[in-house]
């Protein structure tokens, strides 16, 4: 697995996401309150582009009529059939064991470290004083 510098941190503020190309693969990078997560952009159901889906919370219930809403913004719903995926794990809600989106390790690195490598596929200039999102894929 190679490490790819995909975007300056400033390009993906908290609550936002960005579709990036990693070696020909479409990957969507999410910023959840300063933590970054990267998922394959292709929904494992029919291939919808997850990046175009709604980012929402997790609704659960311990009895009919009760709605327990938590983890606001941590669930991505596929724009095609609304299946929910956990942005932190890639697991689907409806069939978590068998149906998941591939996730990739992400880290944030200082530009100063990046210029030393071994990193790939920089398509934008890296400056020493900025921070960058790095996806391992």
């Amino acid at each position: 697995m190679a490490r790819h510098v995909v975007a300056p941190v400033a390009d993906i503020p908290p609550g936002h996401r960005k579709l990036v190309d990693v070696n020909g693969r479409a990957v969507v990078v999410f910023n959840l309150d300063g933590e970054f997560f990267a998922l394959n952009n292709r929904c494992p159901h029919k291939g919808g582009s997850l990046c175009d889906g709604k980012q929402t919370g997790l609704v659960q219930s311990s009895e009919p009529g009760e709605y327990r809403y938590s983890r606001r913004g941590e669930i991505i719903r596929c724009p095609w059939h609304s299946w929910e995926f956990d942005i932190r794990t890639g697991q689907s809600w409806c069939d978590p064991q068998r149906l998941r989106v591939r996730r990739y390790p992400v880290s944030v690195e200082k530009g100063a470290q990046l210029v030393e490598g071994p990193y790939k596929a920089e398509t934008f200039p890296v400056s020493v004083e900025n921070a960058y999102v790095v996806v391992e894929a």
């Binding site: 009919p64 009529g65 409806c94």
Partner: protein
């Protein structure tokens, strides 16, 4: 005597209100006469419709299954059922007046006790409830439940409102508490058209449309959360047909995946809930003509536990003695005839059955 088969859908025929007079309070008995209330026949099973009774089951007056001896002679002696569950379809659910409905439901259950259950130890019955008033319905369950020969609560497939709606829940609470499955039988109280499009104009359309009603009730009970609230409640779809179920579940479960956030208490696929909580009687099966196709439909159910033997006597679902559709795998026959009914109806526990059959 061993348990050879439990027939889970047999219909005793109540031919008119005169039959129930001895079981009505004096006020209602006089009212039947004074108001000229003759019979509570329902359009669901008109007396002369072919489905209502097979010609060879009909007596000289045109009716079939009018007494316990007639029924047990056919379903027990001829067809080998060691026990039969009586589901009486007399139209008490159609009455608009709640008090009359309560009086007739009581009378009907008392008639069943006296004229049927007391006459043959092989018979069991469902409690007919006045759905016009939930409180009355619960009262009737509580009144009948101490008699363990009542093994189920009976309602019709088409009601004033979908069954899962929460105003019905006290009924489910009482049923679950007493170990009584909820039996949903084909039929309507005709408060709503029997199709979702409006009123049909023929009996064939009415009877065929019943399957739509069953589908909607399955969806209602699951999405409203009945099994999240009452996980032990079993629901038996009676005379519903069987072969519509797999396709309906594929559709229902698929849409659940995308829309489950509006019913978050449905925390697993509707298909799984149906396999755990729903059972179906096998007449009619709505079989395809090729037995191999029947076998495939059974595979699509993905459960050996769901089907319950029924003859639907005296309704005309098959000719001769063909009670079990061709293509049902041999290995499943005993489960359908005995094991599944015993596992579904808590009150049919092995000990009490053996006692009454011996």
């Amino acid at each position: 005597m061993t348990i050879t088969a439990i027939d889970c859908d047999v219909h005793p025929t109540c031919t008119g209100n005169d039959i129930l007079l001895p079981y009505l309070d004096t006020y209602w008995r006089d009212s039947v006469e004074e108001r000229g209330m003759g019979s509570l026949e329902s359009a669901a099973y008109p007396p002369n419709a072919p489905i209502t009774a097979r010609p060879d089951f009909r007596g000289p007056n045109g009716y079939a299954a009018t007494d316990a001896a007639q029924v047990t002679r056919q379903v027990c002696d001829r067809w080998g059922a060691s026990h039969a569950i009586l589901n009486c379809l007399y139209g008490v659910q159609l009455i608009y007046n709640e008090d009359i409905a309560r009086a007739f439901a009581r009378a009907l259950n008392d008639w069943i006790t006296k004229e049927w259950l007391d006459r043959d130890p092989r018979l069991r019955a469902s409690i007919v409830i006045p759905m016009q008033n939930v409180e009355y319905a619960v009262d009737e369950i509580e009144r009948c439940a101490p008699d363990k020969r009542f093994v189920q609560v009976l309602v019709l497939a088409m009601q004033e409102t979908p069954l899962g709606r929460r105003h019905h829940w006290p009924i489910f609470a009482a049923a679950e508490k007493h170990g009584l499955p909820l039996g949903i039988h084909a039929g309507s109280n005709y408060r709503n058209p029997v199709t979702s499009l409006g009123w049909p104009t023929s009996y064939v359309e009415d009877y065929t449309s019943q399957a739509q009603g069953f589908q909607s009730q399955v969806a209602s009970l699951i999405t409203e959360g009945v099994f999240a609230k009452y996980p032990k409640l079993k629901v038996v779809l009676i005379e519903s047909g069987v072969t519509w179920l797999p396709g309906f579940l594929w559709r229902f479960s698929k849409f659940w995946r995308g829309a489950r956030t509006e019913v978050p208490w449905v925390d697993r696929s509707p298909s799984e809930i149906v396999r755990d909580n729903f059972r179906l009687t096998i007449q009619p099966f709505d079989s395809p003509s090729d037995p191999h196709d029947v076998e495939r439909i059974v595979e699509h159910l993905r459960s050996d536990d769901m089907l319950l033997f029924s003859s639907d006597f005296p309704h005309w679902q098959f000719d001769g003695d063909e009670r079990i559709p061709k293509g049902i795998p041999d290995g499943l026959r005993h489960k359908i005839l005995v094991e599944n009914p015993l596992a579904t109806y808590d009150r049919l526990n092995g000990a009490s059955l053996r006692e009454s059959a011996s």
